[in-house]
């Protein structure tokens, strides 16, 4: 029998995540204990984690037919679907805009400030206008979610296009490569790490955005349930469950991007992290 290699097991990144999570739990519980001591309704401020977990397994119905977790999960699908569509739409728009802006400096100069401004129009102001264009509350929800997520992708990708070394561009230039080829063979492979930096920021944001647009009008969705719970129209634990669910979905979406990056990145693995040879080992 081989001896157990503890060192290796503890070196595994899973443990790091576990450690982080445990750390967070400890901090949370300390907070919750303090809150429980001073507040009369601590569950509105910071309940104990076991209370939240308890609420997940609680069989008490929160409306005529569902328990809290059933309600949350049944509403999660609507939100997730919108987040997914909104994210793909937003990421594509962001990427295309970055392409367009890198291709035409004038477009970049003209549009960039306004793209940023669009980000700052609260959905409250945007909603009626988007609604007027789409004529449909659900379509407008997706559009708004897309608007809320495209920007990180656009900026990061654009900065990737700009970071390409001058010599690398000149090489293409000397071959009189077509624009299309320059993008296909140089700029796009080059900017992939940058694109994914943007996607890693945008993916969890899409969840946020989707929950946010749920609250535009009644109907289904996590956001709806969340605000009902916050307004004490149902047990507050629905709110806490949604907080955790959205955080978990957020982590998964981030990890999905990490995984996707590994899949599509044209760079050989060793090249990540710069440096060469030994220096990399020294860092660890």
């Amino acid at each position: 029998m081989k001896p157990v290699n503890w060192k290796k097991i503890f070196a595994s990144s899973i443990w790091v995540t576990v450690a982080w999570v445990v750390g967070l739990i400890v901090v949370w519980e300390i907070g919750a204990t303090i809150v429980a001591g001073v507040k009369r309704t601590p569950e509105n401020v910071l309940p104990h984690l076991y209370q939240i977990i308890g609420s997940v397994f609680s069989t008490q119905k929160v409306n005529s037919s569902q328990t809290a977790i059933q309600l949350v999960l049944s509403n999660a699908w609507v939100t997730l679907a919108r987040a997914g569509i909104g994210f793909m739409l937003g990421a594509s728009i962001g990427f295309l805009l970055a392409l367009l802006m890198s291709r035409f400096v004038a477009v970049e100069k003209m549009l960039f400030p306004y793209l940023m401004i669009i980000q700052m129009i609260p959905i409250l102001g945007m909603a009626p206008i988007v609604l007027a264009i789409t004529k449909n509350i659900d379509k407008s929800r997706i559009v708004i979610a897309a608007i809320l997520t495209f920007y990180p992708v656009a900026t990061n990708t654009l900065s990737g296009f700009k970071a390409v070394e001058k010599e690398k561009r000149e090489l293409m230039y000397s071959y009189a490569a077509s624009r299309f080829d320059i993008y296909r063979k140089l700029l796009i492979p080059y900017c992939i790490p940058y694109l994914f930096t943007g996607l890693k920021i945008a993916a969890p944001m899409a969840i946020t955005a989707s929950i946010l647009v749920d609250t535009l009008q009644g109907g289904g969705g996590l956001g709806c349930m969340m605000s009902q719970s916050l307004k004490h129209a149902m047990t507050i634990y629905v709110f806490w469950q949604i907080v955790f669910l959205s955080a978990i979905i957020g982590i998964l979406s981030y990890q999905l991007m990490v995984w996707l990056e590994k899949l599509v990145s044209p760079y050989p693995k060793e090249l990540k992290n710069g440096g060469t040879g030994k220096a990399k080992e020294l860092e660890a």
Binding site: S13, V16, T17, A19, W20, V21, L24, G31, V35, V45, L46, K109, M110, L111, P113, Y114, M116, I117, Q119, M120, I121, P122, L124, G125, P128, I129, A132, I133, K135, Y151, P152, T155, N156, S159, E165, K166, P193, T197, I201, P204, M205, I207, T208, L212, G223, M226, V243, S246, A247, G250, I251, S253, Y254, N273, G274, G275, T276, A279, E283, A284
Partner: protein
Amino acid sequence: MRNWKESWNRFSTVFYPILFGALMITLWQTGILHKILGADTFTLPMPHRIYTIIKENLPVIMQNVQATLIVALGGLFLGSLLGYLLGVVAAIFTKWGKGGLTLASAFNAIPIIAIAPILNNLTKDVSPNANIRSMVAKILVVTITSTVAMSVNAYRGLTEIKPFSMDLMRSYAATERQIFWKLRLPNSLPFIFTALRVSVPGCVISALVSEYFAEYIVGVGRQIRENIVLAQYATAWAYISVACLMGIALYVVLLIFESILLKGRK
């Protein structure tokens, strides 16, 4: 010829957006924009009406702007600092840091509308003054929302170092601290600005939303919401415009800083 080109380059950076803005405002004021968007002049009021409202209520608006700016900038500063520190931890203790980055991204997925009320409740005992404790709660909301963009970018900037640069540092037996100050930090500067380009508008919008829920009634965001609920779209748009102007101002400041700090780089 080169100089002419450079001057035009600089000039167009300002000129193009203004041109585009002027075009949009013209379309807007003439009602063509409304036709294109299918909007009406009630939900999207005319620019001159918005302008009039801003002009007539400038002192009140400035009061709200000030409150929002403190929240946005305070949060942006704290969040970026926190995000950068996280990036540093992630760069130095790669294994630990990556878990931290993932966790930070989880916070990014909790909607502001959930964070804001929690923080509101959590900060109840910070101060007997509702204005101050609201401010703290709002700043914390913005802090959380601007952390992620910075940490993800900072991590890249701190680790994606040109080949052999690290070897050079090692050959001088530079300490981690020296490597950080002399190599990692300068290398991460452009990435910091990329992050800020994301979080500058981000901090304004989170500040606006955090104000919706704050106890103390002040701020551009709160005004937008009050007015939209009261169907005062013209006034709401006046505040929205002010928020956008704030964003532009911050963005311009950012560009100026960028041009100073990244001077001399390719």
